[in-house]
């Protein structure tokens, strides 16, 4: 153990992993010089999203790239843009970003987010991120850089924040809230999503998640749906606001299965432990990891302008739009230019408008739509609708009817099934229409 600041902990692990893993290569766009005198620690000029292509080139040649975006100002925007251009199956790489726009960063599909809050977690999570077999995003909060803590110098000290698994040695030292985060949600939510996805009557369109069995097989036919959902659901930590879902009576989905209320979302650690550990964690901890939907008042910001840790509020609205096909964005951009509006505002307005006409959720997959065809089928009695043309995936919901966290979770389930990169964009404002 040694006393290290948050920043030192990250750099220490990067340094040690550079020595340990001969395939590791660190790209630091915007850095004046690389911190380590190594040809595998490369300071680059600022070159926007091209750095991701450089990293991809290195990854395709057998290296494991790390992209340190901490010097980039519009990190979230850059990352969102870059993710749209990367192939659907990206080789393992790690992105380090600042905590500005953390809530947006946490929602980028295809990226496993890791958000350490202490130097100890910074060391453990960084090493875990550098050894994960998937694209990982390490959010390094500048506001915490000077915080000090005892950090193990063991090269095998790992904390796995999202898989539910922990390093054996680190196990007993994991703070409770982290343990909650670690064991929380992911597996059970995945099960729940699978159950929901299969109960909406569109089983034929839904692929097994991560090569597991068909989602429907997880449902115990002898158990009432609400009990089963409760068994498969994990709780959120106490200090986290629960979705507003419980205010509504349990609703029935298209197939008549009951959708659980908040009470059903209480923790069952045994159920979590029983659940098979997934390899894909897009859902992970939207509730536990510090996502804030509200504007942060100036008095709650620290000197660096970052937010202090806050209880989580559910997001109010969410829409996602695939930008795999440039014509979509071009069209949206053209319209935004014409109307002299920010393109995201325009999209949010469109979605909000559409959400007003929907109630109760359903999934609509129209993979056979012609390119450019809008495959929107507004259901009259659904809360959230998702529609997919061959060139776009869009989803909307009525914030008055369903909590943002719930909608986000469902949408991520869809994205995972589709295995298609897409954007989740959270609108913090009230209904702009």
């Amino acid at each position: 153990m040694s006393l290290k600041t948050y920043l030192e902990a990250i750099e220490y692990v990067l340094d040690s992993e550079l020595n340990e893993q001969t395939g590791l290569i660190v790209f630091r766009p915007g850095a004046r010089r690389a911190l380590e005198e190594s040809e595998r620690d490369v300071a680059l000029p600022r070159m926007g999203k091209a750095v991701f292509q450089i990293a991809l080139g290195a990854a395709l040649t057998g290296m494991r790239p790390v992209i340190d975006l901490r010097q980039e100002e519009n990190c979230a925007e850059l990352l969102l843009d870059a993710m749209c251009e990367l192939p659907a199956r990206v080789p393992p790489m790690t992105v380090i970003a600042g905590a500005k726009d953390a809530e947006l960063l946490m929602e980028i599909p295809g990226l496993l987010p890791v958000y350490p809050k202490t130097p100890r977690q910074a060391a453990g999570f960084t090493r875990a991120a550098l050894r994960q077999n998937q694209m990982t995003l390490l959010i390094a909060d500048q506001a915490l850089y000077e915080e000090e803590d005892e950090v193990p110098e063991d090269d095998d000290f790992i904390m796995l924040p999202l898989t539910g698994a922990e390093d054996e040695e680190a196990d007993e030292d994991v703070p409770e809230e982290v343990a909650d985060c670690e064991a929380d949600g992911t597996d059970a939510l995945r099960e729940e999503e699978a159950a929901e996805l299969t109960s909406d009557g569109s089983e034929e369109d839904i692929l097994p998640i991560d090569g597991e069995d068909e989602p429907g097989e997880e449902v115990n036919p002898d158990m009432p749906p609400e009990e089963e959902a409760a068994e498969m659901t994990c709780a959120e930590p106490d200090d986290i606001s629960l979705p507003e879902y419980g205010e509504n009576a349990p609703s029935e989905d298209a197939a008549g299965a009951m959708v659980p209320e908040d009470a059903a979302a209480l923790p069952d650690s045994d159920a979590c432990a029983r659940a098979e550990k997934p390899t894909d964690h897009l859902v992970c901890d939207v509730d536990a990891a510090g996502i804030q939907a509200e504007e942060i008042p100036a008095d709650e910001q620290n000197e660096a302008g970052c937010a202090e840790a806050q209880p989580i509020a559910p997001v109010k609205k969410v829409f996602c739009a695939s930008r795999m096909i440039p014509c979509d964005l071009t069209e949206l951009n053209r319209l935004a230019d014409e109307l002299e509006m920010n393109v995201y505002d325009l999209a949010a307005r469109c979605m909000s408008h559409a959400a007003k006409r929907t109630a109760a959720f359903t999934w609509i997959f129209e993979a056979d739509a012609e390119e450019g065809e809008c495959a929107f089928l507004p259901p009259e009695d659904k809360e959230v609708s998702v529609w997919l043309g061959c060139d776009r995936l869009t989803a909307c919901y009525d914030p008055a009817e369903i909590a943002g966290t719930e909608a986000a979770r469902l949408l991520r389930a869809v994205l995972r099934v589709l295995e298609k990169p897409a954007l989740l964009i959270f609108d913090k404002e009230d209904d702009p229409v």
Partner: protein
């Protein structure tokens, strides 16, 4: 020599003739070793790809020199003497980040050979010219494999020896001067006339 020329011919035959960079890409591919790479539209190609496996859409979509630079940085740390080919069409060369990629390749002395479609706009772009720095710049006829061969060989050898990147500007020669034949057809004529292959072999 015969095997090399035949391999080059089959690569050429595989790629559509109308694309300006295809002849240069085919020539470069024939010169690559197993560890070398070429950045195509869909990713990185290994130097040992068989002609029949070569995607016809090799350079159809947006070219990606950044991918080549990443591969070059990785190869530089893995092994000496590897080289990466980065085809760049005129559209890509005009994008604003291209000069910074050139600059990066130059400053890091990366083993990259840029095969660039000659573009007057690029030639007149002062920023791009400044970004070239110490990068050697050579022009070659994009439609003549036999003329491209020594130029590309020079660039590849230079990169292998650790002497940094080369920019090969592929100029499309006058159609009247070169005739209506495709680069593959002209190479076939040379192979047959020089006795490297029979017409039957080249069918």
């Amino acid at each position: 020599m015969r095997d090399f020329l035949l391999k080059m011919y089959y690569y050429l035959k595989r790629l559509p003739a109308e694309k300006g960079l295809h002849a240069a890409a085919a020539v470069a591919l024939a010169m690559l070793g197993e560890e070398d790479r070429m950045a195509g539209s869909d990713g990185l190609l290994s130097g040992c790809i068989r002609p029949e496996e070569l995607p016809c859409s090799l350079l159809d979509e947006k070219m990606n020199p950044a991918l080549a630079l990443g591969a070059a940085m990785a190869l530089q740390t893995i092994a000496d003497g590897c080289v990466v080919i980065a085809p760049v069409d005129a559209v890509r060369a005009r994008e604003e980040d291209f000069p910074s990629l050139l600059q990066l390749a130059d400053s890091m002395n990366l083993p990259v050979v840029f095969l660039m479609e000659y573009d007057e706009e690029f030639a007149e772009d002062l920023e791009a010219q400044a970004a070239l720095g110490d990068i050697e710049r050579i022009q070659a006829d994009s439609q003549d494999a036999m003329r491209l061969m020594p130029v590309i060989r020079l660039g590849i050898d230079k990169a292998r020896e650790g002497d940094g990147p080369t920019l090969i500007e592929c100029v499309c020669s006058d159609a009247e001067e070169r005739g209506a034949d495709t680069p593959a057809a002209r190479l076939a004529d040379v192979l047959i006339s020089e006795g490297f292959a029979t017409p039957e072999e080249l069918l």
